[in-house]
């Protein structure tokens, strides 16, 4: 039994289909990256996993039980920070601590908050409000808040997409480091190929919407811990990169796959039907 199981999940809003026939098993302790163009329903998929939305068809199972509502056991790192503007860094992280450990004394609570704020390197800014922080710092607070829920798995919805390239790279490495520390199950959404390869055990590539589904899954066997520099020097890195890029190229400009016509393709079938990608491997 997989940790998080999506079984033939479809989602449509009214008459508009978004996702169709998704089968995906997330194993415990793995770092899964969902990669695809914007508008392919990646966020919807994460919302389904989090329990913020319910599938129109099929089911989402977390440790064998159907997901019916969101909860702190599946911590979400939201795309646009989503910090309470009226609370300081400590206050925002404190919200999560209060949820998970309501019985803490004042001092214990403060220590816990300080621990998570320190973990993302924001101790010096603990008393500031979101408006006084840079984008990267806000996203760190967002990460700290999710970690403070002490979740069993983390769902990261394009956590780095709103940041500039430099901050993005640094924060990606930091996420890798934090993940290394206790190997929590992670599902991260991105549209950045390098970010995907840096972080992923498996890269799940989405076909274009509407009726988006899983196009191809690639296992990334690069050694950990990974850094951007080490990756660039690794001989296999470019092969992985090429494989992912080839898949994306096929779907560029919003094209439906040349191969995946007719019935909703099963992931394995599509993988077999993309000879270019296989050749690159």
């Amino acid at each position: 039994m997989a940790f998080l199981d999506l079984k033939n999940v479809s989602k449509s809003y009214g008459d508009t289909p978004v996702l169709q026939g998704i089968d995906l098993a997330v194993e415990e302790g793995e770092f899964l990256v969902l990669l695809g163009f914007s508008g392919t329903g990646k966020t919807t998929l994460v919302n389904l996993m989090a329990g913020l939305e319910m599938p129109t068809k099929g089911e989402v199972l977390f440790k064998g039980r159907p997901v019916t509502e969101p909860g702190p056991e599946r911590g979400v790192i939201f795309q646009n920070y989503s910090l309470m503007p009226w609370l300081t860094v400590n206050g925002n992280v404190g919200l999560a601590v209060d949820t998970m450990f309501p019985e803490l004394s004042r001092a214990e609570r403060a220590a816990k908050v300080a621990h998570y704020v320190g973990m993302v390197g924001l101790s010096h800014a603990a008393g500031r409000r979101p408006a006084e922080l840079s984008g990267g710092m806000r996203q760190r607070v967002n990460v700290a808040r999710a970690l403070a829920m002490d979740p069993e798995m983390l769902l990261l919805d394009e956590p780095l997409s709103a940041l500039d390239a430099l901050t993005r790279g640094n924060l990606a490495e930091e996420i890798e480091k934090i993940w290394e520390a206790d190997k929590k199950t992670c599902v991260l959404i991105t549209n950045d190929v390098d970010e995907a390869i840096l972080l992923a055990d498996r890269v799940v590539m989405m076909t274009n919407g509407p009726r988006a589904t899983i196009g191809k899954i690639t296992e990334v066997g690069l050694p950990r811990p990974r850094t951007r520099k080490a990756l660039l020097e690794h001989p296999d890195y470019y092969a992985y990169r090429q494989e992912v890029l080839d898949f994306l190229e096929e779907y560029e400009h919003g094209n439906q796959s040349k191969h995946a016509s007719g019935a909703a393709p099963k992931p394995k079938a599509v993988a077999a039907e993309t000879p270019k990608a296989v050749a690159a491997e």
Binding site: A50, P72, G75, V76, P85, W86, P130, M149
Partner: protein, 356 residues
């Protein structure tokens, strides 16, 4: 022998910097208080080039002052040309005279009251010396202009407070739940446009019937005015609170769902803070409506306050009446303006930037 301190210039420069920083900070407050024109004057005073600020001073101070002067001139020339049963309409000078007169009246009344109590104390001292019980009575002079103002302000705040206590929770309920909104919406739509003059008879009859204790904290007339204010000033706060609560950022709502916040902690930590700017917009509108309604209510019901003052002067019909009514009009306007500024200040204290 004198030595030139090389830090002297740097020091002076730093002080200057600090002074300008302080002015910039104070500017936010001047703006809130409607005194934005002070800033450029202060900057010039602190050694800035006056030329750079002339345009601003002209716009912030020159134009308003000129407009007021033009208004006064127009008033002064046109008013005497209209003859009424009480003589010509008073111009600015006559109105000012009446304002001074009202102030003198108030001072005289205060002196008379002081005399009255001094005499009463004397008499009581004699009575006690003679072995009798002392007797205390309240001074019963006609209320002064100032005491009318005080009554009106007290009434409007009491009514406004009642309205807030009712409207904010109802608004939160309507914003959070579609059902509550569906239930409240038709009632709001029907009662919102009702004029205070329509409420007044109902309120006064109900208050006379229900509030029968004579030893109560409030006078009946006070309650009637205040409740009429409540009924009319409820709606802006209610509608804006509901809107503020309903338009909470969806992402933040998702956060509260993932955190599984309880209803109470959700209201305290998410709903209230994020709806606060709109709640205050509603409160500000409500207080404005309340103040307008109060004057009408006091006039019609003969309840103490500025409205009654206006009505009494109207009935009085002396040659001074028109002037006094105009003094009351300006007073009502200026107090309304100050109340609005007060709410605006509180509002800007509670508004945060939308930067997440």
């Amino acid at each position: 022998m004198t030595t030139v301190d090389p830090n002297f210039d740097a020091d002076r420069e730093a002080r200057r910097e600090r002074r300008f920083a302080a002015i910039t900070k104070a500017d936010t407050w001047f703006r809130v208080l409607g005194l934005a024109w002070i800033t450029p004057l202060l900057r010039i005073g602190a050694g800035d080039n006056p030329r750079a600020h002339l345009g601003e001073i002209w716009r912030l101070l020159g134009v308003p002052v000129l407009a007021i002067l033009a208004f006064l001139a127009l008033w002064g020339t046109l008013a005497p040309q209209v003859q009424t049963s009480l003589g010509a309409i008073p111009g600015p000078a006559q109105v000012w005279e009446q304002a001074v007169g009202l102030n003198e009246d108030a001072v005289r009344t205060r002196e008379r009251a002081a005399d009255f109590y001094a005499r009463q104390d004397e008499r009581n001292a004699e009575r006690i010396a003679a072995g009798d019980e002392p007797r205390y009575r309240e001074f019963t002079g006609a209320p002064t202009f100032y005491s009318q103002i005080r009554t009106s302000i007290k009434t409007v705040f009491f009514g406004f407070l009642l309205a807030t206590v009712v409207a904010v929770p109802l608004g939160i309920a309507a914003g959070l739940s579609q059902t509550a909104n569906a239930a409240l919406n038709p009632l709001i739509q029907v009662f919102k446009p009702v004029s205070p003059l329509a409420w007044l008879p109902i309120v006064s009859i109900v208050v006379s019937a229900v509030y029968v204790t004579d030893d109560g904290w409030f006078e009946k007339s006070f309650l009637v005015s205040a409740i009429t204010v409540t009924l009319c000033s409820l709606w802006p706060t209610l509608i804006n609170t509901a809107l503020g609560v309903a338009s909470i950022d969806k992402d933040l709502v998702n956060v509260s769902k993932v955190l599984k916040m309880g209803t109470w902690s959700k209201i305290r930590k998410l709903v209230l803070p994020s709806a606060l700017p709109l709640i205050f917009t509603g409160l500000r509108l409500s207080l404005g409506v309340g103040w307008m309604v109060l004057i009408a209510a006091e006039m019609l019901a003969q309840n103490p306050g500025l409205g009654k003052f206006v009505w009494d002067e109207f009935q009085n019909g002396s040659s001074e009446s028109l002037g006094r009514i105009m003094v009351a009009v300006f007073t009502i306007g200026i107090i309304g303006f100050l109340l609005d500024r007060l709410m605006y200040t509180i509002q800007s204290l509670f508004t945060f930037t939308n930067n997440r």
